[in-house]
């Protein structure tokens, strides 16, 4: 997602936090296998 936002012209694109949102669900093992986590992404639309 960082790449997609950056390519769209956003600046200050940053992952600010990660969350183990799939722990305790039926997708827990798949999430662990592929290292899938929730994340907060912050980005600023560039001033033109």
């Amino acid at each position: 997602m960082i790449d997609v936002f950056t390519a769209a012209g956003f600046t200050d694109v940053t992952i600010t936090a990660r969350f183990e949102c799939f722990e305790g669900t039926t997708k827990q093992s798949t999430a662990r296998k592929y290292r899938v986590v929730g994340a907060n992404l912050s980005a600023v639309r560039a001033a033109v």
Partner: protein, 204 residues
């Protein structure tokens, strides 16, 4: 990393599957799903303020199915115009409406009828007159160009195969200097072609 779908991926089927899945969540949030829902999950795993959640109708928060916490990135300023892409039953939308106050506006966009109905009803029950809920999806936002201060979203962009188009829409509606505060999933491993074509993985 962002997940890009194969060029021949059945996007129409995915859209229908997502709508069916989240209509089920709206109708029966306590049902069997492969993702967490509800206010206890939001507070315990994602760091939401449990008192702010408790102040919202349970009909709204019980259907919460976010994967992160866009509100934790930065407080949305008073008076701001905020758009919540894929607002669902309205948990993040109504929290944003409270933050921006009566001089601001909170616009929710969702493609699932049942979720929009819950969000609209929830706003009315909270007495929030600065909330508007519109039909639409992430790739075609029903929002004017350069009219928005903050775009939020939670667990939605991962469901959209056309991510570049969705992010271009966010750029279109934001004012210069406006902020995107996005909760989504990130994947640490390269997925196989079979995984990329597995519609059950896309809807989860």
């Amino acid at each position: 990393m962002a997940v890009m779908c194969p060029v021949d991926f059945d996007k129409a089927r995915l859209r229908a599957e997502v709508q069916t899945m989240y209509a089920r969540v709206a109708a029966a949030p306590d049902g069997e799903f492969h993702f967490h829902r509800g206010p206890a999950y939001a507070a315990a795993r994602l760091g939401y303020d449990d008192q702010e959640l408790a102040a919202l109708p349970l009909e709204v928060t019980s259907s919460f199915a976010g994967v992160a916490n866009p509100h934790a990135i930065r407080r949305i300023p008073t008076g701001a115009v905020v758009v919540d892409i894929g607002c669902g039953a309205g948990t993040d939308l109504l929290l944003a409406a409270r933050q921006v106050g009566p001089t601001g506006r909170a616009i929710g966009v969702d493609m699932t009828d049942a979720m929009r109905a819950r969000a609209t009803d929830g706003a009315a029950r909270c007495g929030l007159t600065n909330v508007e809920v519109r039909a639409g999806d992430a790739t075609r936002l029903p929002v004017d160009d350069h009219s928005v201060d903050v775009v939020i979203s939670n667990g939605v962009l991962n469901l959209v195969p056309e991510k570049e188009r969705a992010v271009a829409e966010i750029a279109r509606v934001l004012k210069p200097g406006g902020r995107a505060q996005i909760g989504d999933i990130v994947i640490g491993e390269v997925l196989s072609e079979d995984c990329l074509r597995d519609i059950d993985l896309w809807t989860g």
